[in-house]
């Protein structure tokens, strides 16, 4: 089997499996071989579900012989951030403490749906402890490493998800995004990432972080694969109390509709400051390709980021309070001390943040009356080095870990859907991403724009060579 097939898209793998050009077992075995060969360098997988993957692949091959419908992801491998429940595995959520939990009794809903579409789960992926992370560092499992330059961060907290996809181990991985944890690693590792609208995809069977901000979504090497996996995961799940009861149309049927008629603008103000020139240049590239000359302001974006920051501190601290009292020494110190600080945030700050949240939502929704898509940097810079703890933005030295989400936090604060698209610059080893932001429930528009850019060669997500 050619490497090109497993380094290609899930869509292409599924087409090859459906046609009989290759068996699902061959794809699964080749994927397991690649994980074995490359994972040591990447730190992507924490558990490999080889037996399960081969059994699922064999079932797909048997179904094909019987002439059954194999599904849109037939035989396509995928993996999940290790905060997703995988039946028989302990859901560690990047922590040491949760390893004392019993194994999960059932798969997370998103895994069940991807497997129902023919996907083959091959394992669980490294992540920042309890998802309170933008770097991809993990003191317990070691860091995930950026496949395009192993001395640099993947970004986090879905760091293993990004390493696995950019490293060519799987075409699709699931992550979670509370403040940017899909979009930051997608930017640093040169991937397409989808953070859907808050309340769109079920979080049942995932370990939480900040209930009022938690989302799940896919990372992939193609906008087409984002759409395919997103479509497969849609649907009501009454177990998630935050999931919206509203129509959930598939995005794939309109993916090729192009950008004609879409009103596209770039965000100025806050989103044009505090950024390395590479971040702004990436937005220039995409805005230029889309002929988006208009610049609009998202009023009070800076305060939105602050409010998201405080809500995260308080809700995160509440979630982990008992563990902080009883097992403080078992946390990653970088995470623990942020959580402890969260226990001491005055309640009035958090309450004000939630009041401001509704006001900011109203202001932002008004903006979407005469614009369909907003463009903004995904990260303020390319991936920092792994050991880097501070960086300078706007002439001010800041901590890396809390500040890589400067541009993602105001957007997820009010649950807007975003596709991150990867931009490469001649002569640079590392990519940087741009957020393609749509109005609530319009994932289809963000995916359409990303796909148009990919089709025209403006953005791309190549597999790293690991040289």
């Amino acid at each position: 089997m050619s490497a090109a097939l497993v380094e290609g898209t899930a869509e292409a793998i599924a087409a090859a499996v459906r046609s009989g050009a290759v068996s699902a077992r061959e794809i699964a075995q080749e994927t397991l071989n690649r994980i074995e060969a490359r994972n040591g360098a990447l730190g992507a997988f924490t558990e490999v579900t080889a037996k399960r993957a081969l059994a699922k692949a064999d079932a797909i091959d048997t179904a094909r012989v019987r002439g059954e419908n194999l599904g849109p992801l037939a035989g396509a491998p995928f993996a999940v951030k290790n905060l997703f429940d995988v039946e028989g595995l302990t859901t560690r959520a990047g922590s040491k403490i949760n390893r004392d939990h019993p194994p999960a009794k059932a798969d997370a809903t998103m895994i069940t749906r991807l497997e129902a579409a023919g996907g083959v789960l091959v394992g669980a992926l490294n992540m920042g402890e309890y998802a309170y992370d933008f770097t991809g560092r993990n003191v317990h499992d070691g860091p995930s490493r950026n496949p395009h330059d192993l001395g640099h961060m993947t970004g986090g907290s879905s760091g293993g998800s990004a390493a696995a996809v950019a490293g060519g181990l799987v075409p699709i991985a699931l992550g979670s995004d509370t403040n940017g944890s899909i979009r930051v690693p997608s930017s640093f590792c040169g991937l397409f990432g989808l953070k859907p609208t808050y309340g769109r995809l079920s979080r049942v069977g995932t370990f939480p972080f900040v209930a009022s901000l938690d989302h799940v979504g896919p990372l992939a090497r193609s906008a087409g694969d984002l759409a395919l996996s997103y479509d497969s995961m849609l649907g009501r799940d009454h177990g998630d109390s935050a999931q919206a009861d509203r129509p959930a149309p598939a995005a794939s049927p309109t993916l090729n509709d192009g950008i004609a008629g879409l009103r596209i603008a770039r965000l100025g103000g806050y989103f044009a400051r505090s950024a390395d020139p590479s971040a702004l240049s990436a937005v220039d590239t995409i805005a230029g390709a889309l002929k988006a000359d208009r610049v609009v302001e998202l009023a009070q974006a800076e305060q939105a980021r602050s409010a998201a920051y405080l809500i995260t501190m308080v809700e995160g601290a509440a979630l982990h309070f008992a563990r902080l009292r009883e097992r403080a020494q078992d946390f990653d110190p970088e995470v623990r001390d942020r959580l402890i600080a969260g226990t001491m945030v005055p309640g009035v700050w958090a309450a004000q943040a939630q009041k401001f949240r509704r006001q900011f939502r109203a202001t932002t929704l008004a903006l979407f009356r005469d614009v369909d898509i907003l463009l903004a940097p995904a990260t303020p810079c390319r991936a920092p080095r792994l050991e880097q703890t501070t960086f300078v933005l706007d002439g001010r030295e800041m901590l890396v870990r809390p500040n890589l989400g400067l541009f993602t936090q105001p957007i997820s604060f009010i649950g807007l859907p975003v596709v991150t698209a990867p931009v490469w610059t001649e002569g640079q080893k590392l990519p940087i991403g741009v957020q393609i932001i749509a109005a609530p429930w319009r994932e289809d528009l963000a995916l359409r724009v990303a796909w148009a850019l990919e089709r025209d060669g403006v953005v791309r997500a190549p597999v790293a060579t690991l040289s």
């Binding site: 902080l324 001390d337 969260g342 945030v345 005055p346 939630q354 401001f356 509704r358 006001q359």
Partner: protein
């Protein structure tokens, strides 16, 4: 309302024992750093006037 008068160091030393949290010297120092950042965020947030009738984002449905 202002977060200007908030003293992270005093808050950590007063609240840790009240909350039943035991901090090592290293943890205390980092907690102060993070609480100081929180106070900066709060200062920015609290600069926005909010109407008394402003409804918080999460609304409980009975």
């Amino acid at each position: 309302m202002s977060a200007n008068g908030f003293d992270p160091e005093a808050a950590v030393d007063a609240m840790a024992p009240l909350l039943g949290l035991t901090l090592t010297p290293e943890s205390r120092a980092q907690t102060i750093v993070h609480l100081r950042i929180a106070a900066e965020q709060a200062e920015r947030l609290l600069s926005v006037p909010l109407d008394d009738l402003a409804e918080p984002a999460p609304v409980f449905t009975a």
